[in-house]
């Protein structure tokens, strides 16, 4: 699934769209404000056999399902893990030290993305799955949740399915669905202690959430702070000086720059000093304590669109009709060259070159802003019933 889907717009239409998006404030084809998301419907727990699942439908008809399955797996002995025989003699001291050795491994998560009509080794699909798992694994905090004891861990299988045709670039949809599914994921409650072979409570109702939620009964504190949540990856683009969130397919076709920005919540585990904690809590009241996890540039399809031709160089408009002498021709050629490199008002020209650092900084800034889009999105997702 490439972002560069064929867009059936003429250069003139592209130019028009670009122009309207460049206005201040921009005018989007569907009338949204620049930071407004497309309306979506979400629910969780749709697949009873999974440990957690979610489904999201965007108003444009794209729809995704994510299922999370967990399996107990034996942790391979590694050099930095003390071998079992040595610890046979130690007893209770182990229990105290245990939190120090909680470690995760990126192998513990396996993610597959399926887009209808695309092979699973299609570059676009692979890229999508890489982006999603990168966001999840970036800070190394997530895999720690899968730790059971020094010998066992959970292996998590995330199956991400787009079930509608990819009408728009599905990254935000898939990311949000994955986010919800992970929030809804529960793992059986561990009954055994220490490094014993794990033994679990047979009561599913007692199973704690992978991401524990504050104020929810029965959710026991796991390793990380209880307010943590999985990352979301947002698609942001810039047209001229405007920053536009959640672009539709057409909007993306005229983007100057498109970025996938993954945002997580500050878990607080890095700021262990009590004083800092105090400040954090002060700040995060009502807001999410956001933190940037990864940024990827997306090749916008606009780069592959055919450029429009200015009237001046369009032979159909008689630009060359009367030109007979070589001097005029030469002039015209020069003119044509300038039109290739310089923008002409109202004529579509595919953007060239990479994203400018300043623009990128502005994009990221906008995402992370307090009360900004990411905050809004996370707030909205909080409203989804997770049972």
């Amino acid at each position: 699934m490439a972002s560069s889907q064929h867009v059936l717009l003429s250069p003139a239409e592209l130019a028009y769209l670009h122009a309207s998006l460049s206005l201040t404030p921009p005018i989007r084809p569907d009338g949204r404000s620049p930071t407004q998301f497309r309306p979506l419907v979400a629910e969780t727990g749709i697949l009873p056999g999974t440990n957690g699942s979610a489904r999201i439908c965007f108003a444009d008809g794209t729809e995704a399902i994510v299922g999370v399955k967990a399996e107990v797996e034996r942790t391979r002995t590694r050099h930095d893990f003390p071998s079992l025989d040595d610890e046979g003699a130690e007893d209770d001291d182990d229990l105290d030290n245990q939190h120090d050795v909680v470690k995760g491994d990126n192998d513990w998560v396996e993610m597959t993305v399926e887009i209808p009509g695309y092979r699973d080794d299609d570059a676009g699909t692979v890229f999508l799955s890489a982006m999603l798992s990168e966001a999840l694994l970036a800070d190394g905090e997530f895999t720690k949740r899968l730790w059971i004891n020094r010998r066992f861990h959970w292996k998590l299988y995330l199956d991400i399915l787009l079930i509608s045709p990819p009408l728009s670039y599905p990254l935000p949809l898939l990311s949000l669905t994955t986010h919800l599914a992970l929030l809804a994921t529960r793992l059986p409650r561990l009954k055994s202690e220490g490094d014993e072979d794990p033994l679990f409570d047979d009561d599913w109702a007692a199973a704690p959430y992978l991401y524990t939620r504050p104020g929810k009964k029965g959710s026991k504190k796991t390793v990380a702070a209880p307010t943590a949540r999985p990352p979301v990856t947002l698609l942001v683009m810039a047209v001229g000086n405007n920053i536009i969130f959640d672009p539709s397919k057409e909007e993306l076709a005229v983007a100057d720059v498109a970025l996938a920005v993954s945002v997580g919540e500050h878990t607080g585990s890095t700021s262990s000093k009590p004083t800092e904690m105090d400040i954090d809590t002060e700040e995060t009241k009502g807001h999410h304590n956001l933190r940037l996890l990864s940024v990827r540039t997306i090749d916008p399809p606009s780069r592959l669109t055919p450029p429009g031709i200015p009237n001046a160089s369009n032979s159909a408009y008689g630009a060359n009709a009367g030109a007979k002498d070589t001097e005029k021709k030469k002039q015209q050629q020069e003119q044509a060259r300038t039109t290739e490199s310089e923008a002409v008002e109202g004529v579509w020209k595919a953007p060239r070159g990479g994203a400018k650092t300043l623009v990128m900084a502005a994009l990221v800034q906008k995402v992370l802003e307090k009360g900004g889009v990411a905050d809004e999105v996370l707030d909205a997702l909080d409203g989804v019933d997770l049972n």
Partner: protein, 984 residues
């Protein structure tokens, strides 16, 4: 967007569908979330004959007749429920007092809820089977109500609710529904009462206004309730243990299951079956794969509440605590004789006397510091599975407090018949009645706070030493199924009964593929009075100078078809059990002694193995066929012998027996050359007075050449059949193997022989062993060789049935017979394994299609496991029966006999008296009064006493003993008592 989830508001059937979600952990360590949809229905009848509404929805059979309802319209009443009542017990009630429900005096009209049935199955399979047979019995009126599928009685698990609590709630809901449902039928509808021994459950029932009683309260309402009261364990207090102070715990706590599993997997802990030494109740052993020799478990604390037969997990103790196995006899009944069953709480774990007994042990080990002899010791850290059964025993007279009178509950000790089982504390109101009786008890629990396990009374078998009580005790103790065959089994018999005949017309389907062998001169040779004749033989000369020899076995598989009730019953019984005065059949009498039995002068179906042999008894060819035979004569061994010896008898039949005898001698020689062992166990026969069947004399069995005639051909048939079925079914053939014993098993005996007699025992192969056993002779003492053979036999493994797919071919070997492959084929009337072999052989010769039952490996393995156990139990029961009758035969007589010392301890020795085939322990204190001092030299196996009596006893020594019978006052057992008269 329409939600994908099932919407309960919009779906009209939503209330009929529910789902169960739980976590399942598999053995391989996988953890799965399981979602089960439950489809609830309203057409599950209550099955009360009072109810008309349910009659309409009752399931119907093929003829469209409703299946008759179970619960009576006029159920019995109690003092509280005069209008009559139905009973709904919860799981606990069944688990703790199944015996109560089997009573015929009460407990009719019982509703067994599905949730209860499932819980019982999960907790105890034997109890589940008993419950199932109760639900099948027509007169008890037990009805299984599928409450989990009935809409009104289904409950979903609430958050934070344990499975047990949820199930209890389901029971309460079902009781409530039953009450409401029945109250609609009539004004004086019977009450539906919940029975539970769980306080919490009772309390909640009371809150909900559900009629509920504890078992004890309920039984008191019954007419003769007092007698039943003893069968009820105390009401369970869930938190009773927590209230106790830790200081009062006598035993260490068990590890958690996960900790044990991890330990066992890592090899830090070991799992195995716990066995108690028959001579020392404080010494147990456990065989684990990690150690070549069994691990020792010494002392109460290390044994930690394990009972013989339990599957336990042990931890090996540090090396400085390794010990030698005890050379001392410690009997529980003598050491703990005067304990008071009432006031044992808080007392020390190890009583003063026990400590003393153990201390002497320790001293001895310390003094010696013979490191080479010390064995690894271990302690029990957890129990995977209890193997408690019902135990036969009697009340210890000395534990009865003299003040016991009236209806007060007394605590007494029950001493089980099996010495390996610890004594059981029992609370009973009927001490006076039960004294001097054989009683059946079960163990309920063994708490950390209690030195002895607690149990409850099940029923009384009768006066001690009455034949009926002792026989039943024996059968119960060895788990022999002795109840009469149920009707379903008898229904499987041919309708003609005793009039059944081989069909006259050869077109009859019974004749299909059957060979007509009626013209052969076939005869059978069996012990006197044998009624179930399994086998018959024939031999005839062939024109080419060879012989045709046939072994004809009763065609039981013709009558017992796989998977019908009779087959199932036979597979459970596994074998016919022979007691001195009684035979407990595997198959109903009609088959065993008539239709299958190869009686003389009548035509019978048979399964024949026919060889062509040359005069050297080499097999030229062999074939297997179903046949019809007509036996010419049924000889006893003695008759056959007389006939052979009588030279004037020159008829064809006698000559053919002579041929058989000649061939059998050659076969035997070949077998011995191959290294077959001739083993020995003391075999004796009890002669009974024909009228009263009281034992009058004991004789050792004679051995006649005709016996080995039959034996050789049976062995040959078994071997031939084994090869054939293995060829046809390499994965699933039922075979019998006798594993080579580990060399270490013979260490002790070899050492004893070397030290005492200067003889060598080589154990490299069965051949070497056979040869060295032949050399173990004492010119002065002919019995010595037999003695060594008896002792060598005890060092060996027991032979076992197995399914060929479970072992590799070299493991098939039968060590004792020195045969590469072996099975049992020749006694299908009395052994189930033979019946399976018949079916497999029939399929192998394409007589019939392979039945799934003889093809499924899992099932065959289960069958093998069962028949191995049954076989062993049958042997033990037979021996115990002989021992009992020997005791009875000697009653009131005192005889002096020769005996041999076969085992020696520091405070006693075991003497075997060949004439009676009995062995008995003579303790030091039996030698003289007061007990003489003794020194025991373990190196030379010599016990020298001094003081009140001076004797020197050595291993293998011939001694003169006086054999009397004696009733031990504490054990209540009449046993043989031996006194040492003199040494030779």
């Amino acid at each position: 967007m329409a939600s994908l989830k099932r919407s309960f508001e919009s779906d009209p059937f939503a209330q009929n569908i529910s789902s169960k979600v739980y976590v399942r952990s598999t053995k391989s360590g996988k953890v799965q979330k399981i979602v089960r949809e439950v489809y609830l229905r309203q057409d599950i009848p209550c099955s009360s004959k009072l109810c008309n509404s349910c009659l309409k929805i009752a399931p119907r059979d093929a003829a469209n007749r409703p299946i008759p309802f179970v619960l009576s319209e006029k159920p019995a009443g109690t003092s509280v429920f005069t209008q009559g009542h139905y009973i709904v017990p919860d799981t606990n009630a069944f688990l703790s007092a199944m015996d109560l429900f089997e009573q015929s005096s009460a407990f009719y009209d019982v509703v067994v809820l599905q949730v209860v049935l499932e819980e019982v199955r999960a907790r105890s399979l034997p109890l589940y089977n008993r419950l199932i047979s109760l639900t099948k019995s027509e007169d008890k009126r037990f009805y299984v109500f599928f409450n989990e599928f009935r809409l009104e009685t289904y409950v979903t698990r609430e958050e934070g609710e344990s499975v047990n609590d949820r199930n209890d709630r389901a029971v309460r809901k079902a009781v409530k529904w039953y009450n409401e449902h029945l109250s609609k039928t009539s004004k004086k509808a019977p009450a539906v009462v919940m029975l539970s021994n769980d306080r919490d459950n009772l309390r909640k029932a009371k809150e909900d206004d559900i009629p509920a009683y504890s078992l004890a309260d309920y039984v008191r309402q019954l007419k003769d309730g007092d007698q039943l009261l003893d069968m009820i364990p105390e009401v369970e207090e869930r938190d009773a243990l927590i209230e106790k102070k830790p200081g009062q715990f006598l035993y260490p706590e068990y590890y958690t299951l996960s900790k044990m599993n991890t330990g066992v997997k890592n090899g830090l802990l070991h799992q195995g079956i716990f066995n108690v030494s028959p001579y020392n109740y404080l010494e147990g052993s456990i065989r684990v794969p990690a150690f070549p020799k069994a691990l020792l478990i010494l002392g109460r604390e290390n044994i930690n509440r394990a009972v013989d037969g339990d599957l336990v997990v042990v931890e090996v103790l540090p090396k400085d605590q390794w010990k030698e196995p005890s050379t001392k006899v410690i009997e529980e009944e003598t050491v703990t004789k005067n304990e008071n069953p009432d006031t044992e709480e808080g007392s020390d774990l190890i009583s003063e006397k026990e400590r003393k007994a153990l201390q002497e042990e320790a001293k001895r080990t310390l003094a010696k510091t013979t490191e080479g002899h010390a064995l690894p010791t271990a302690k029990v850290v957890g129990i995977i599975k209890r193997n408690w059964r019902q135990y036969v025993g009697h009340i210890d007279q000395s534990s009865v407090s003299s003040s016991g009178q009236g209806r007060k509950q007394d605590s007494v000790f029950v001493i089980p018949m099996d010495k390996k089982i610890p004594k059981i504390r029992l609370r009973t109101r009927q001490v006076a009645e039960l004294l001097g009786k054989r009683i059946l008890v079960t163990i309920d629990a063994w708490d950390r706070t209690s030195r002895h396990p607690t149990g409850h009374f099940v029923r009384s078998l009768g006066e001690l030493e009455t034949k009926a009580a002792e026989t039943e005790a024996l059968l119960l103790e060895y788990d022999v199924q002795y109840r009469p065959f149920p009707k379903t089994v008898l229904d499987c018999l041919p309708k003609e009964g005793h009039d059944w005949k081989v069909p006259a017309s050869m077109d009859d389907p019974g004749w299909r593929d059957r060979q007509d062998l009626r013209d052969l001169l076939i005869c059978s040779i069996d012990p006197i009075g044998c009624q179930d004749i399994d086998d018959a033989l024939h031999a005839r000369a062939l024109p080419n100078g060879n012989f045709e020899v046939g072994v004809h076995i009763a065609d039981v598989s013709h009558f017992v078809k796989p998977n019908n009730a009779m087959d199932t019953e036979a597979s459970i019984r596994g074998t016919t059990v022979y007691l001195v005065d009684k035979r407990i059949d595997m198959l109903p009498m009609l088959l065993g002694t008539d239709l299958c039995s190869l009686k003389p002068y009548v035509e019978r179906y048979a399964f024949s193995v026919i060889w062509e042999m040359n005069s050297n008894a080499d097999i030229v060819g062999s074939r297997f066929t179903k046949s019809v035979i007509k036996s010419r004569e049924a000889f006893s061994y003695e008759q056959a012998q007389l006939r052979i010896d009588d030279a004037s008898q020159q008829d064809e039949l006698t000559n053919s027996i002579r041929t058989l005898l000649e061939l059998s001698k050659k076969l035997k020689q070949k077998r011995l050359d191959a290294g077959a062992l001739s083993l020995s166990s003391p075999e004796i026969k009890v002669h009974m007075e024909s009228e009263t069947s009281d034992p009058i004399d004991v004789k050792t069995k004679e051995h006649l050449p005709t016996m080995s005639l039959v034996e050789e051909f049976m062995l040959l048939a078994n071997t031939s059949v084994a090869a054939k079925i293995y060829e046809a079914f390499p994965q699933t053939a039922i075979l019998r193997r006798h594993a080579a014993p580990p060399k270490t098993n013979f260490d002790e005996l070899a050492n004893q022989l070397r030290v005492k007699k200067g003889l060598d025992l080589s154990v490299e192969s069965s051949r070497a062993l056979a040869d060295s056993l032949d050399l173990c002779v004492d010119p002065k003492e002919p019995f010595f060789n037999t003695l060594i053979r008896i002792m060598a036999t005890r060092c060996m493994m027991s032979a076992e049935y197995f399914c060929s797919g479970t072992q590799s071919y070299p493991e098939f070997r039968h060590y004792g017979l020195a045969s590469e492959i072996y099975t049992h084929f020749t006694s299908p009337i009395r052994r189930y394994a033979d019946l399976m072999a018949h079916r497999q052989l029939a399929a192998a010769i394409e007589y019939e299609a392979v039945h799934p039952a003889v093809r499924s490996r899992g099932r065959l393995e289960a069958v093998c496991k069962n028949i191995n156990v049954r076989h062993r139990n049958a042997q033990l029961a037979g021996r115990a029966s002989i021992a009992y009758y020997v005791g009875q035969a000697l009653r009131g007589k005192a005889t002096e006999e020769d005996g041999f010392v076969m085992k020696i301890f520091s405070n006693g020795f075991v003497v075997l008296v060949p004439r009676f085939g009995i062995e008995s322990l003579i303790r030091l204190r039996d030698l003289a009064e007061p007990e003489p001092a003794a020194t025991y030299d373990a190196e030379t196996y010599t016990l020298t006493t001094s003081g009140s009596r001076e004797v020197k006893v050595e291993l293998f020594q011939k001694v003169r003993v006086r054999v009397t019978d004696q009733k031990d006052e504490t054990t209540g057992k009449r046993g043989v008592k031996m006194e040492l008269v003199s040494t030779y």
